[in-house]
Structures are given as C-alpha cells and as structure tokens.
Symmetry: C2
Subunit: 196 residues, 2 copies
Amino acid sequence: MPTTMGRRERKKAQTRQALSEAALRLFSEHGYDGVTVAQIADEADVSIATLFAHVPDGKEALIFDDGAERRLWLVAAVRDRPPGQSVLEALRRCMAARGPFTNDLPPELRSKRDLIVSTPALREYSRKLWIASEGSLAEAIAAESGRDSSDMTVRALARYVLEIPELAGTEPDPLAALNAIFDLLGSGWPESPKQA
Amino acid sequence: MPTTMGRRERKKAQTRQALSEAALRLFSEHGYDGVTVAQIADEADVSIATLFAHVPDGKEALIFDDGAERRLWLVAAVRDRPPGQSVLEALRRCMAARGPFTNDLPPELRSKRDLIVSTPALREYSRKLWIASEGSLAEAIAAESGRDSSDMTVRALARYVLEIPELAGTEPDPLAALNAIFDLLGSGWPESPKQA
DNA sequence: TCAGAAACTATAACCACTATAGATTCAGAT
DNA sequence: ATCTGAATCTATAGTGGTTATAGTTTCTGA
C-alpha cells in the first residue's frame, strides 16, 4: 500500500478541483445565475453526469469543500483552548479569524467570500455546511461543561454559534456584530419587564 | 366600494384554497416528493401556470399562507404583554401555543404539522417564513427596550427566537426544549473557563 | 494477466419553473 | 348599459437542474 495516492484518486481530485475552479471563475465573471452547470462541465472538460457524480449536492456545492475542515477547526478550538479561557471566548476567536470576519486573506479568497455573501443560494448553502457541524460542536461543548451532548441547551448554543456567519456576515462591520452576538450568548438578554 | 369582496377576489381566494387543499391531501397521501405540481394543478382543476401565479414561491409554499399572521401575532405578543412580564416571557408563551409545541389542535392541523416536521423541504420553508418576521420582531423588541432596531443584539435575539421552531421542533419533548432555549437566551451560557 | 471496481460518457428522461401570447372575465368610469 | 382596461386563466413551448441507464475506458489488487 503506497503512501501516495494512486493514479485513480489523483485524477479524481484533479477533476473535482477543475470543476471548483471552473465554477468559481464563471460565477465570478457572469454571476451565479448567469452560469449553467453545462457551461461549468464544459469548462472543466467533463460531462454533466460526471459533474454531478463529483458534487452530489448540486450546483451550489461546486465551490465548497465538504466542511470537514471547519468541523475539525471548531472542535479543536473548544478542546485545545488555553487554560483560563472560556468556551465562548475560544469560539469567538476561532470564528473571528474566518470567513466574513477578517480581511486578512489573499485577494482570491476575498473575492470568493464576496461572491458567496452576495449570492443568496450560496449563502444558504454555506449556512448548511456550518450547521452540519452542530453535532460535533455540541459534543465538544458538552465534554467541556460536564453536560450531555443531547442537552438542548448545549445543542442550542452550538446552533446559535454556527448561525453567526449568516447573521452577522452581511453587516457593515461584521466583526463588531460577531462580538455583540457573543456577548448576548454569554450574558443573556437583560430582562425588561413592562412597567406596571 | 362594497364592504364584501368582489367576485374576482372571491374566486381568487377559492382557487388558492383549492390549491392548498389539493396539495395537502396529495402530500399526505403520497409524500412531498411523490407528488408533482402537475398533479396538484390537475387536482385543483387549474393549469400549471395558474398554480405558479398563485404561489410564486413554488411547490413548498403551497400549503402555507404568507406568514403575515405570524408576524402580527409575534409583534402583538411583545407589545401587548401584561405589566410585569418580560419580553422573553411573552415570546415564550406566544410560541408555546403554536406549531410544534402544542397538541391542542384539531387532528387535521396536527397531521399537517407532522407532514411539515417530517419533510425537510417543508421544514426549511417554514423556517424561512418565521425568519421573514425578523425585522418586525426586532422593531417590536427595540421599542420595548429603548434600543435601535438595527442594533445587532436586538436582531440576533429576534433571529434566535425565530429559529426555535426549527431547532426544537424535532425534539422528543418540544415544549421542554423550547423552555430550555428561552432560559439560555435569558441568562446566557455560564462561563466554563479551562482549569489552569 | 485477469477480474472487478470505479470513473467517465452519451443519451434520454423528469420535474420545477418561466415566458409568451391569446382568450375570458370582471371592475369601474363614462 | 356599455366600453375600456386590467386581472385571470389557458395552452404551449422552453430553460435548466438533476437523475437513470447502459455501455466504454481506466485503474487496482489478486
């Protein structure tokens, strides 16, 4: 069993990447709705059937990976945070370094992010990818807080954290929005009973 | 200007209702994916083009109204809550009486709810309808708390409240889940810093 | 070297949805 | 009462995403 990938897996990865690059290039040029999957398949020099074999989730998934990386990143951020740091603080820093919340990115990634943020179908799919990590994140949080990962409070917190990109990503100052939301999650909404 | 609707509006409402009923009946019988819009149009005795004229949001929207009622209900719950009651408590009671959180419903509505909860496409659309009220709810909350409705904290709270049906709707005990989530939103997540 | 798995292809189909143009029905003003 | 214009409905034909099928090529492991 060779340490390197066989030719087959290598070709597969190449095809998948050709599809991603073709899709991103065409989307950037003509907009998401201005491009058909047939054009993308052509540009990557494969058949339409092959395109869907590589990207079973459909057109929107073309420019995304499967989200496994995000999942690992989140879990690691919670589990390996420095001593004295809270779970929320660890998550806040983790997310602040990603996606819509930083401009410290190469220009290709920045334009990709802008494309996603400005295209509803892609924003929705991005949210789906984040939320797919809910279970893993809930387990990580549960492990750190001595609760069960099926505890609704834990699941809700995980979900709410993962909704932040969608919620704050379109704000004029995304980072400030991110911080405001984490403050809310940490301290709760101040009671404001109606005057009697 | 007559107090009652003209014949035209009456017929329009009839057609729309015929479509809703046909869709619900067929979905319940054969499952959402087991029914085509052509079958629904046939069952309601209209053309496919007419179906889409009545329901521009597409197949999933067939069994829903436009969500205006929900919006009014939520805003009223916040604004007209009894003296001494907090905003969150008012929203908790409002939601507890609706959708997935009560069984105090006629059997037709119960089976409709079960169909929605068990069909991903319909669950997603239901969430969309809830979230469409985010702006209105944020305004209502802002008015009660002396903040601005564009305040990220207000918007986040509104969003998080409106996500509750999707988040808690599939739990074994939805009402308990609802209460747990409102407790989290009210008090925040207890800090659990890592031991040094 | 051989057998089988995996990837790719062309083709054809299905379905949601849209566009168009024409027919019918209704509402409001004259 | 009638006329005009707008709303509604219709059939038809298309677009585009997605899947199914069946057959071909390419790689892998025995």
